[in-house]
């Protein structure tokens, strides 16, 4: 057991750090985590990494992966967090990409993977439906298979998806649809379709969340015609892809490196804010909250490292990743809560943001402006991607066998 980084690993870190310093777009400095970026800004770093060959480190090398060890990937994440870069969107890289290279046909791989690697195709996820939540097996969106006048086979898709993150920018979406309404078990009879978001019959409608953001959407599908060769995996066996993807989605969700940056930010804010005439960080109770966060984050960090080591030793991402999801989101939410506590009165103003050319000054210090919306919006992390209650259920069943 040796938890220090090897000289090779340290050299790798230097390489990464230098690359980021030299190549990360100046205009996006410290933009990681900002919810108000446009499409081009959100893709810029991804595209630079695509050119370098570093956009999909976890993929098999034949599809563009880097072949890095888990420790190297850990260092990669740490350095990106340290520089607060805008991370590649997960929908292609961590979600549909792995499904396509695992279950897709050679044609599908050739057609879809390069766009994900290059950061030119924006993907969104059509899983959740109104009233279904984490219970994917009860989904209602229907896909009927027909042969069209052109002699080709299509699915005609009808239904509604919800909580579709950033669908307003998406080129493509991956959808779970019901192809056999008579299947014996509810999770049977589901298929996994790739759908061009410009196909007629698709309507995207924003859902505004508590922080005032337009981050999620409802997606309506009204007689949407999807060529059969855009189905991944076998018909009625989409559940296999869905389960695989859910396990993949959870890995990396611990967010350790970003939370470290978050804690440093709290310390900065609390060194500026005054409490009884002294920097807030000198308030022993505030300081204790920071200390407790650091302790819990260290515990999470080394738990993640142990999980990564387990993966390197051949265990795939398993139910242990639920621990990372639960503890990771708890810490993120505590950080958001503590920022809001730190900023005091200036957490209350509702900063709607000002357009370019609008030179009205902002209210209170800059760091206070998004404190409340980020806290409110952050409540989603313990709900989405399988709520923390669902995750505990997974651990109870899969790990403890209760």
């Amino acid at each position: 057991m040796d938890l220090k980084f090897t000289p090779e690993e340290e050299a790798f870190r230097t390489e990464i750090r230098t690359f980021i310093e030299e190549n990360y777009p100046e205009r996006l400095k410290n933009a990681g985590g900002r919810e108000d970026l446009g499409r081009d800004d959100m893709l810029a770093w991804h595209q630079i990494l695509g050119e370098k060959g570093w956009s999909v480190p976890s993929w098999p090398e034949e599809y563009g992966g880097t072949g890095w060890t888990p420790t190297q990937k850990y260092i990669w994440n740490e350095e990106n967090a340290r520089a607060n870069t805008v991370p590649p969107l997960p929908f292609g890289v961590s979600m549909v990409g792995p499904v396509i290279y695992t279950f897709g046909t050679p044609e599908q791989k050739e057609r879809f993977l390069p766009g994900i690697v290059a950061g030119t195709t924006w993907w969104c996820q059509g899983y959740s439906e109104p009233g279904a939540g984490s219970d994917l097996a009860s989904l209602k969106t229907r896909a009927e298979r027909i042969t069209d006048d052109d002699g080709k086979e299509y699915y005609i898709v009808n239904g509604q998806k919800t909580w579709t993150t950033l669908a307003q920018h998406a080129d493509w979406g991956f959808f779970l649809v019901r192809t056999d309404p008579d299947a014996r078990k509810p999770q049977e009879g589901i298929s996994f379709l790739l759908i061009d978001m410009k196909t007629p019959g698709i309507t995207v409608r924003p859902i505004i969340t508590l922080g005032g953001e337009h981050e999620v959407n409802e997606v309506f599908l009204d007689n949407v015609k999807v060529p059969v060769d855009q189905r991944v995996g076998k018909e009625n066996e989409g559940w296999t892809c869905a389960k695989f993807l859910l396990a993949h989605e959870r890995s990396g969700i611990a967010g350790v490196a970003r939370s470290k940056v978050g804690i440093e930010r709290i310390k900065d804010i609390a060194s500026t804010e005054l409490d009884e005439g002294k920097p807030l960080i000198e308030n022993p109770f505030f300081k204790r909250k920071v200390a407790e966060l650091e302790v819990d984050l260290t515990a999470l960090e080394f738990t993640e490292l142990r999980t990564l080591a387990g993966e390197a030793a051949g265990k795939g991402p398993g139910p242990e990743s639920s621990v990372l999801k639960i503890k990771g989101t708890e810490i993120q939410q505590r950080i958001q809560e503590l920022v809001l506590e730190a900023v005091g009165h200036y957490g209350a103003p509702y900063f709607r943001g000002y357009g370019e050319g609008d030179n009205e000054f902002s209210i209170g210090p800059d760091y206070a402006q998004r404190a409340a919306p980020t806290y409110f919006n952050g409540r989603k992390t313990s709900i989405y991607g399988g709520s923390n209650e669902i995750q505990r259920g997974i651990i109870a069943k899969m790990v403890l066998g209760l």
């Binding site: 009860s138 859902i207 005054l274 009884e276 109770f285 809001l340 009165h345 209210i363």
Partner: protein, 371 residues
């Protein structure tokens, strides 16, 4: 010892509840909160004229219903239950509190009538929750005073006709001595505001005093001796916030219980899941204890340690109930469209108003444990 309400108190509560059910459902509230003004003149007028509740907490000689802080508590609870954005706390509890303190019968009359609305300008950018931290100064000039300074996040200033302002007439920046209190029309020359909405649906302003001249009559009480009265009225406001919190928590609990009974997962209402049941029990217990603490604190006014205790217990309860109400609603809990998220936002802001849980714990420790 008894927990009973008088007939008048019961009437105040019932009429207000009926009125809000009729005219202040969630959609109406959202419309009002999102209007340019951010509050409703009509509702305020109805409070004054149809319901007469603006006078509930004042003595009968002054045209009130003969009540006091218990009446304020009753109203504030309904303010919390319906997310009312109109300035009852600022105008009646705080403005009225100062008027009572300094025997300003005319001001009370105007408050009861609805024509005068007050905002309390106390906080400063560097002062956090210290009521005595005042960089804003008032110096004597020609028998009157000249005010200079910047007040931060003054709730309800956009709807106010008058400001009650704390300013320093002597002493060092955080001294208790030298705190003075002024009542002035918002349109006093030298007073400027920048108005903005708040995350919880309310409104506030930054208020700037640039050599604003006020007459001697604007001074409440004696120059430099207002700290005690400020503390007393703020404690009354804190208890008012506790009552608002009770209404807010109980409504979040109701929304959550109703939702979980209706919403199905894996074929059963999620209210049947034991983990969610126990969570809702803990939320219920927080609300019950919040109510107990509010009753305790209102009865022990002007005991400052009791107000602090209540704020602490209720601050923790607000966080617990708010976060879990959203969590148990799942996705829709964090949408702008559903009510529960807006209760959560208001709950979050109450927790920090006039000081966070940490602040009031320290205050309680100093008052009760460091003798």
């Amino acid at each position: 010892m008894n927990f009973d309400f008088t007939e008048t108190q019961t009437m105040v509560r019932d009429t207000l509840q009926r009125f809000l059910a009729d005219r202040y459902d969630f959609e109406s509230r959202q419309k009002i909160s999102r209007s340019d003004a951010g509050w409703s003149q009509d509702i305020w007028k109805a409070f004054a004229e149809e319901l007469g509740i603006l006078g509930a907490s004042f003595s009968e000689e002054l045209g009130g219903l003969g009540g006091g802080q218990i009446e304020n508590m009753i109203v504030m609870e309904e303010v919390g239950r319906s997310l009312v954005v109109e300035p009852y706390l600022s105008t009646v509890v705080i403005g009225g509190g100062f008027a009572r303190e300094y025997g300003k019968a005319d001001l009370i009359e105007e408050i009861i009538g609805g024509e005068t609305r007050i905002a309390f300008a106390w906080a400063e950018p560097q002062g956090r929750f210290d009521l005595n931290y005042l960089e804003t100064s008032a110096r004597e000039k020609d028998g009157g005073f000249v005010l200079s300074g910047h007040k931060a996040v003054v709730r309800d200033a956009p709807s106010a006709t008058h400001l009650v302002v704390t300013a320093r007439t002597s002493g060092d920046v955080a001294d208790e001595d030298g705190v003075s209190l002024f009542l002035l029309p918002k349109d006093t020359k030298g007073v400027s505001t920048r108005d903005y909405p708040l995350v919880d649906g309310g409104v506030a302003s930054e208020v700037y005093f640039e050599n604003a001249e006020v007459p001697a009559s604007a001074l409440l009480g004696e120059a430099g001796k207002a700290a005690g009265a400020v503390r007393k009225v703020v404690d009354e406001a804190v208890v008012g916030l506790c009552a608002e919190a009770v209404g807010c928590m109980e409504q979040m609990n109701k929304l959550t219980q109703d939702y979980t009974k209706e919403r199905k997962q894996f074929g059963v209402p999620i209210s049947k899941f034991q983990v969610l049941q126990h969570r809702m029990v803990d939320m219920f217990m927080e609300a019950e204890q919040a109510r107990s603490m509010t009753y305790m604190a209102v009865n022990r006014l002007p005991d400052s340690a009791s107000a602090a205790q209540a704020k602490v217990k209720i601050g923790k309860g607000l966080t617990y109930v708010g976060q879990n109400a959203v969590q148990l609603h799942g996705g829709i809990g964090i949408t702008d469209e559903y009510a529960v998220g807006h209760y959560f936002k208001r709950a979050t802001m109450i927790e920090g108003q006039f000081g966070t849980t940490d602040h009031y714990l320290r205050r309680y420790e100093r008052l009760a444990l460091e003798d």
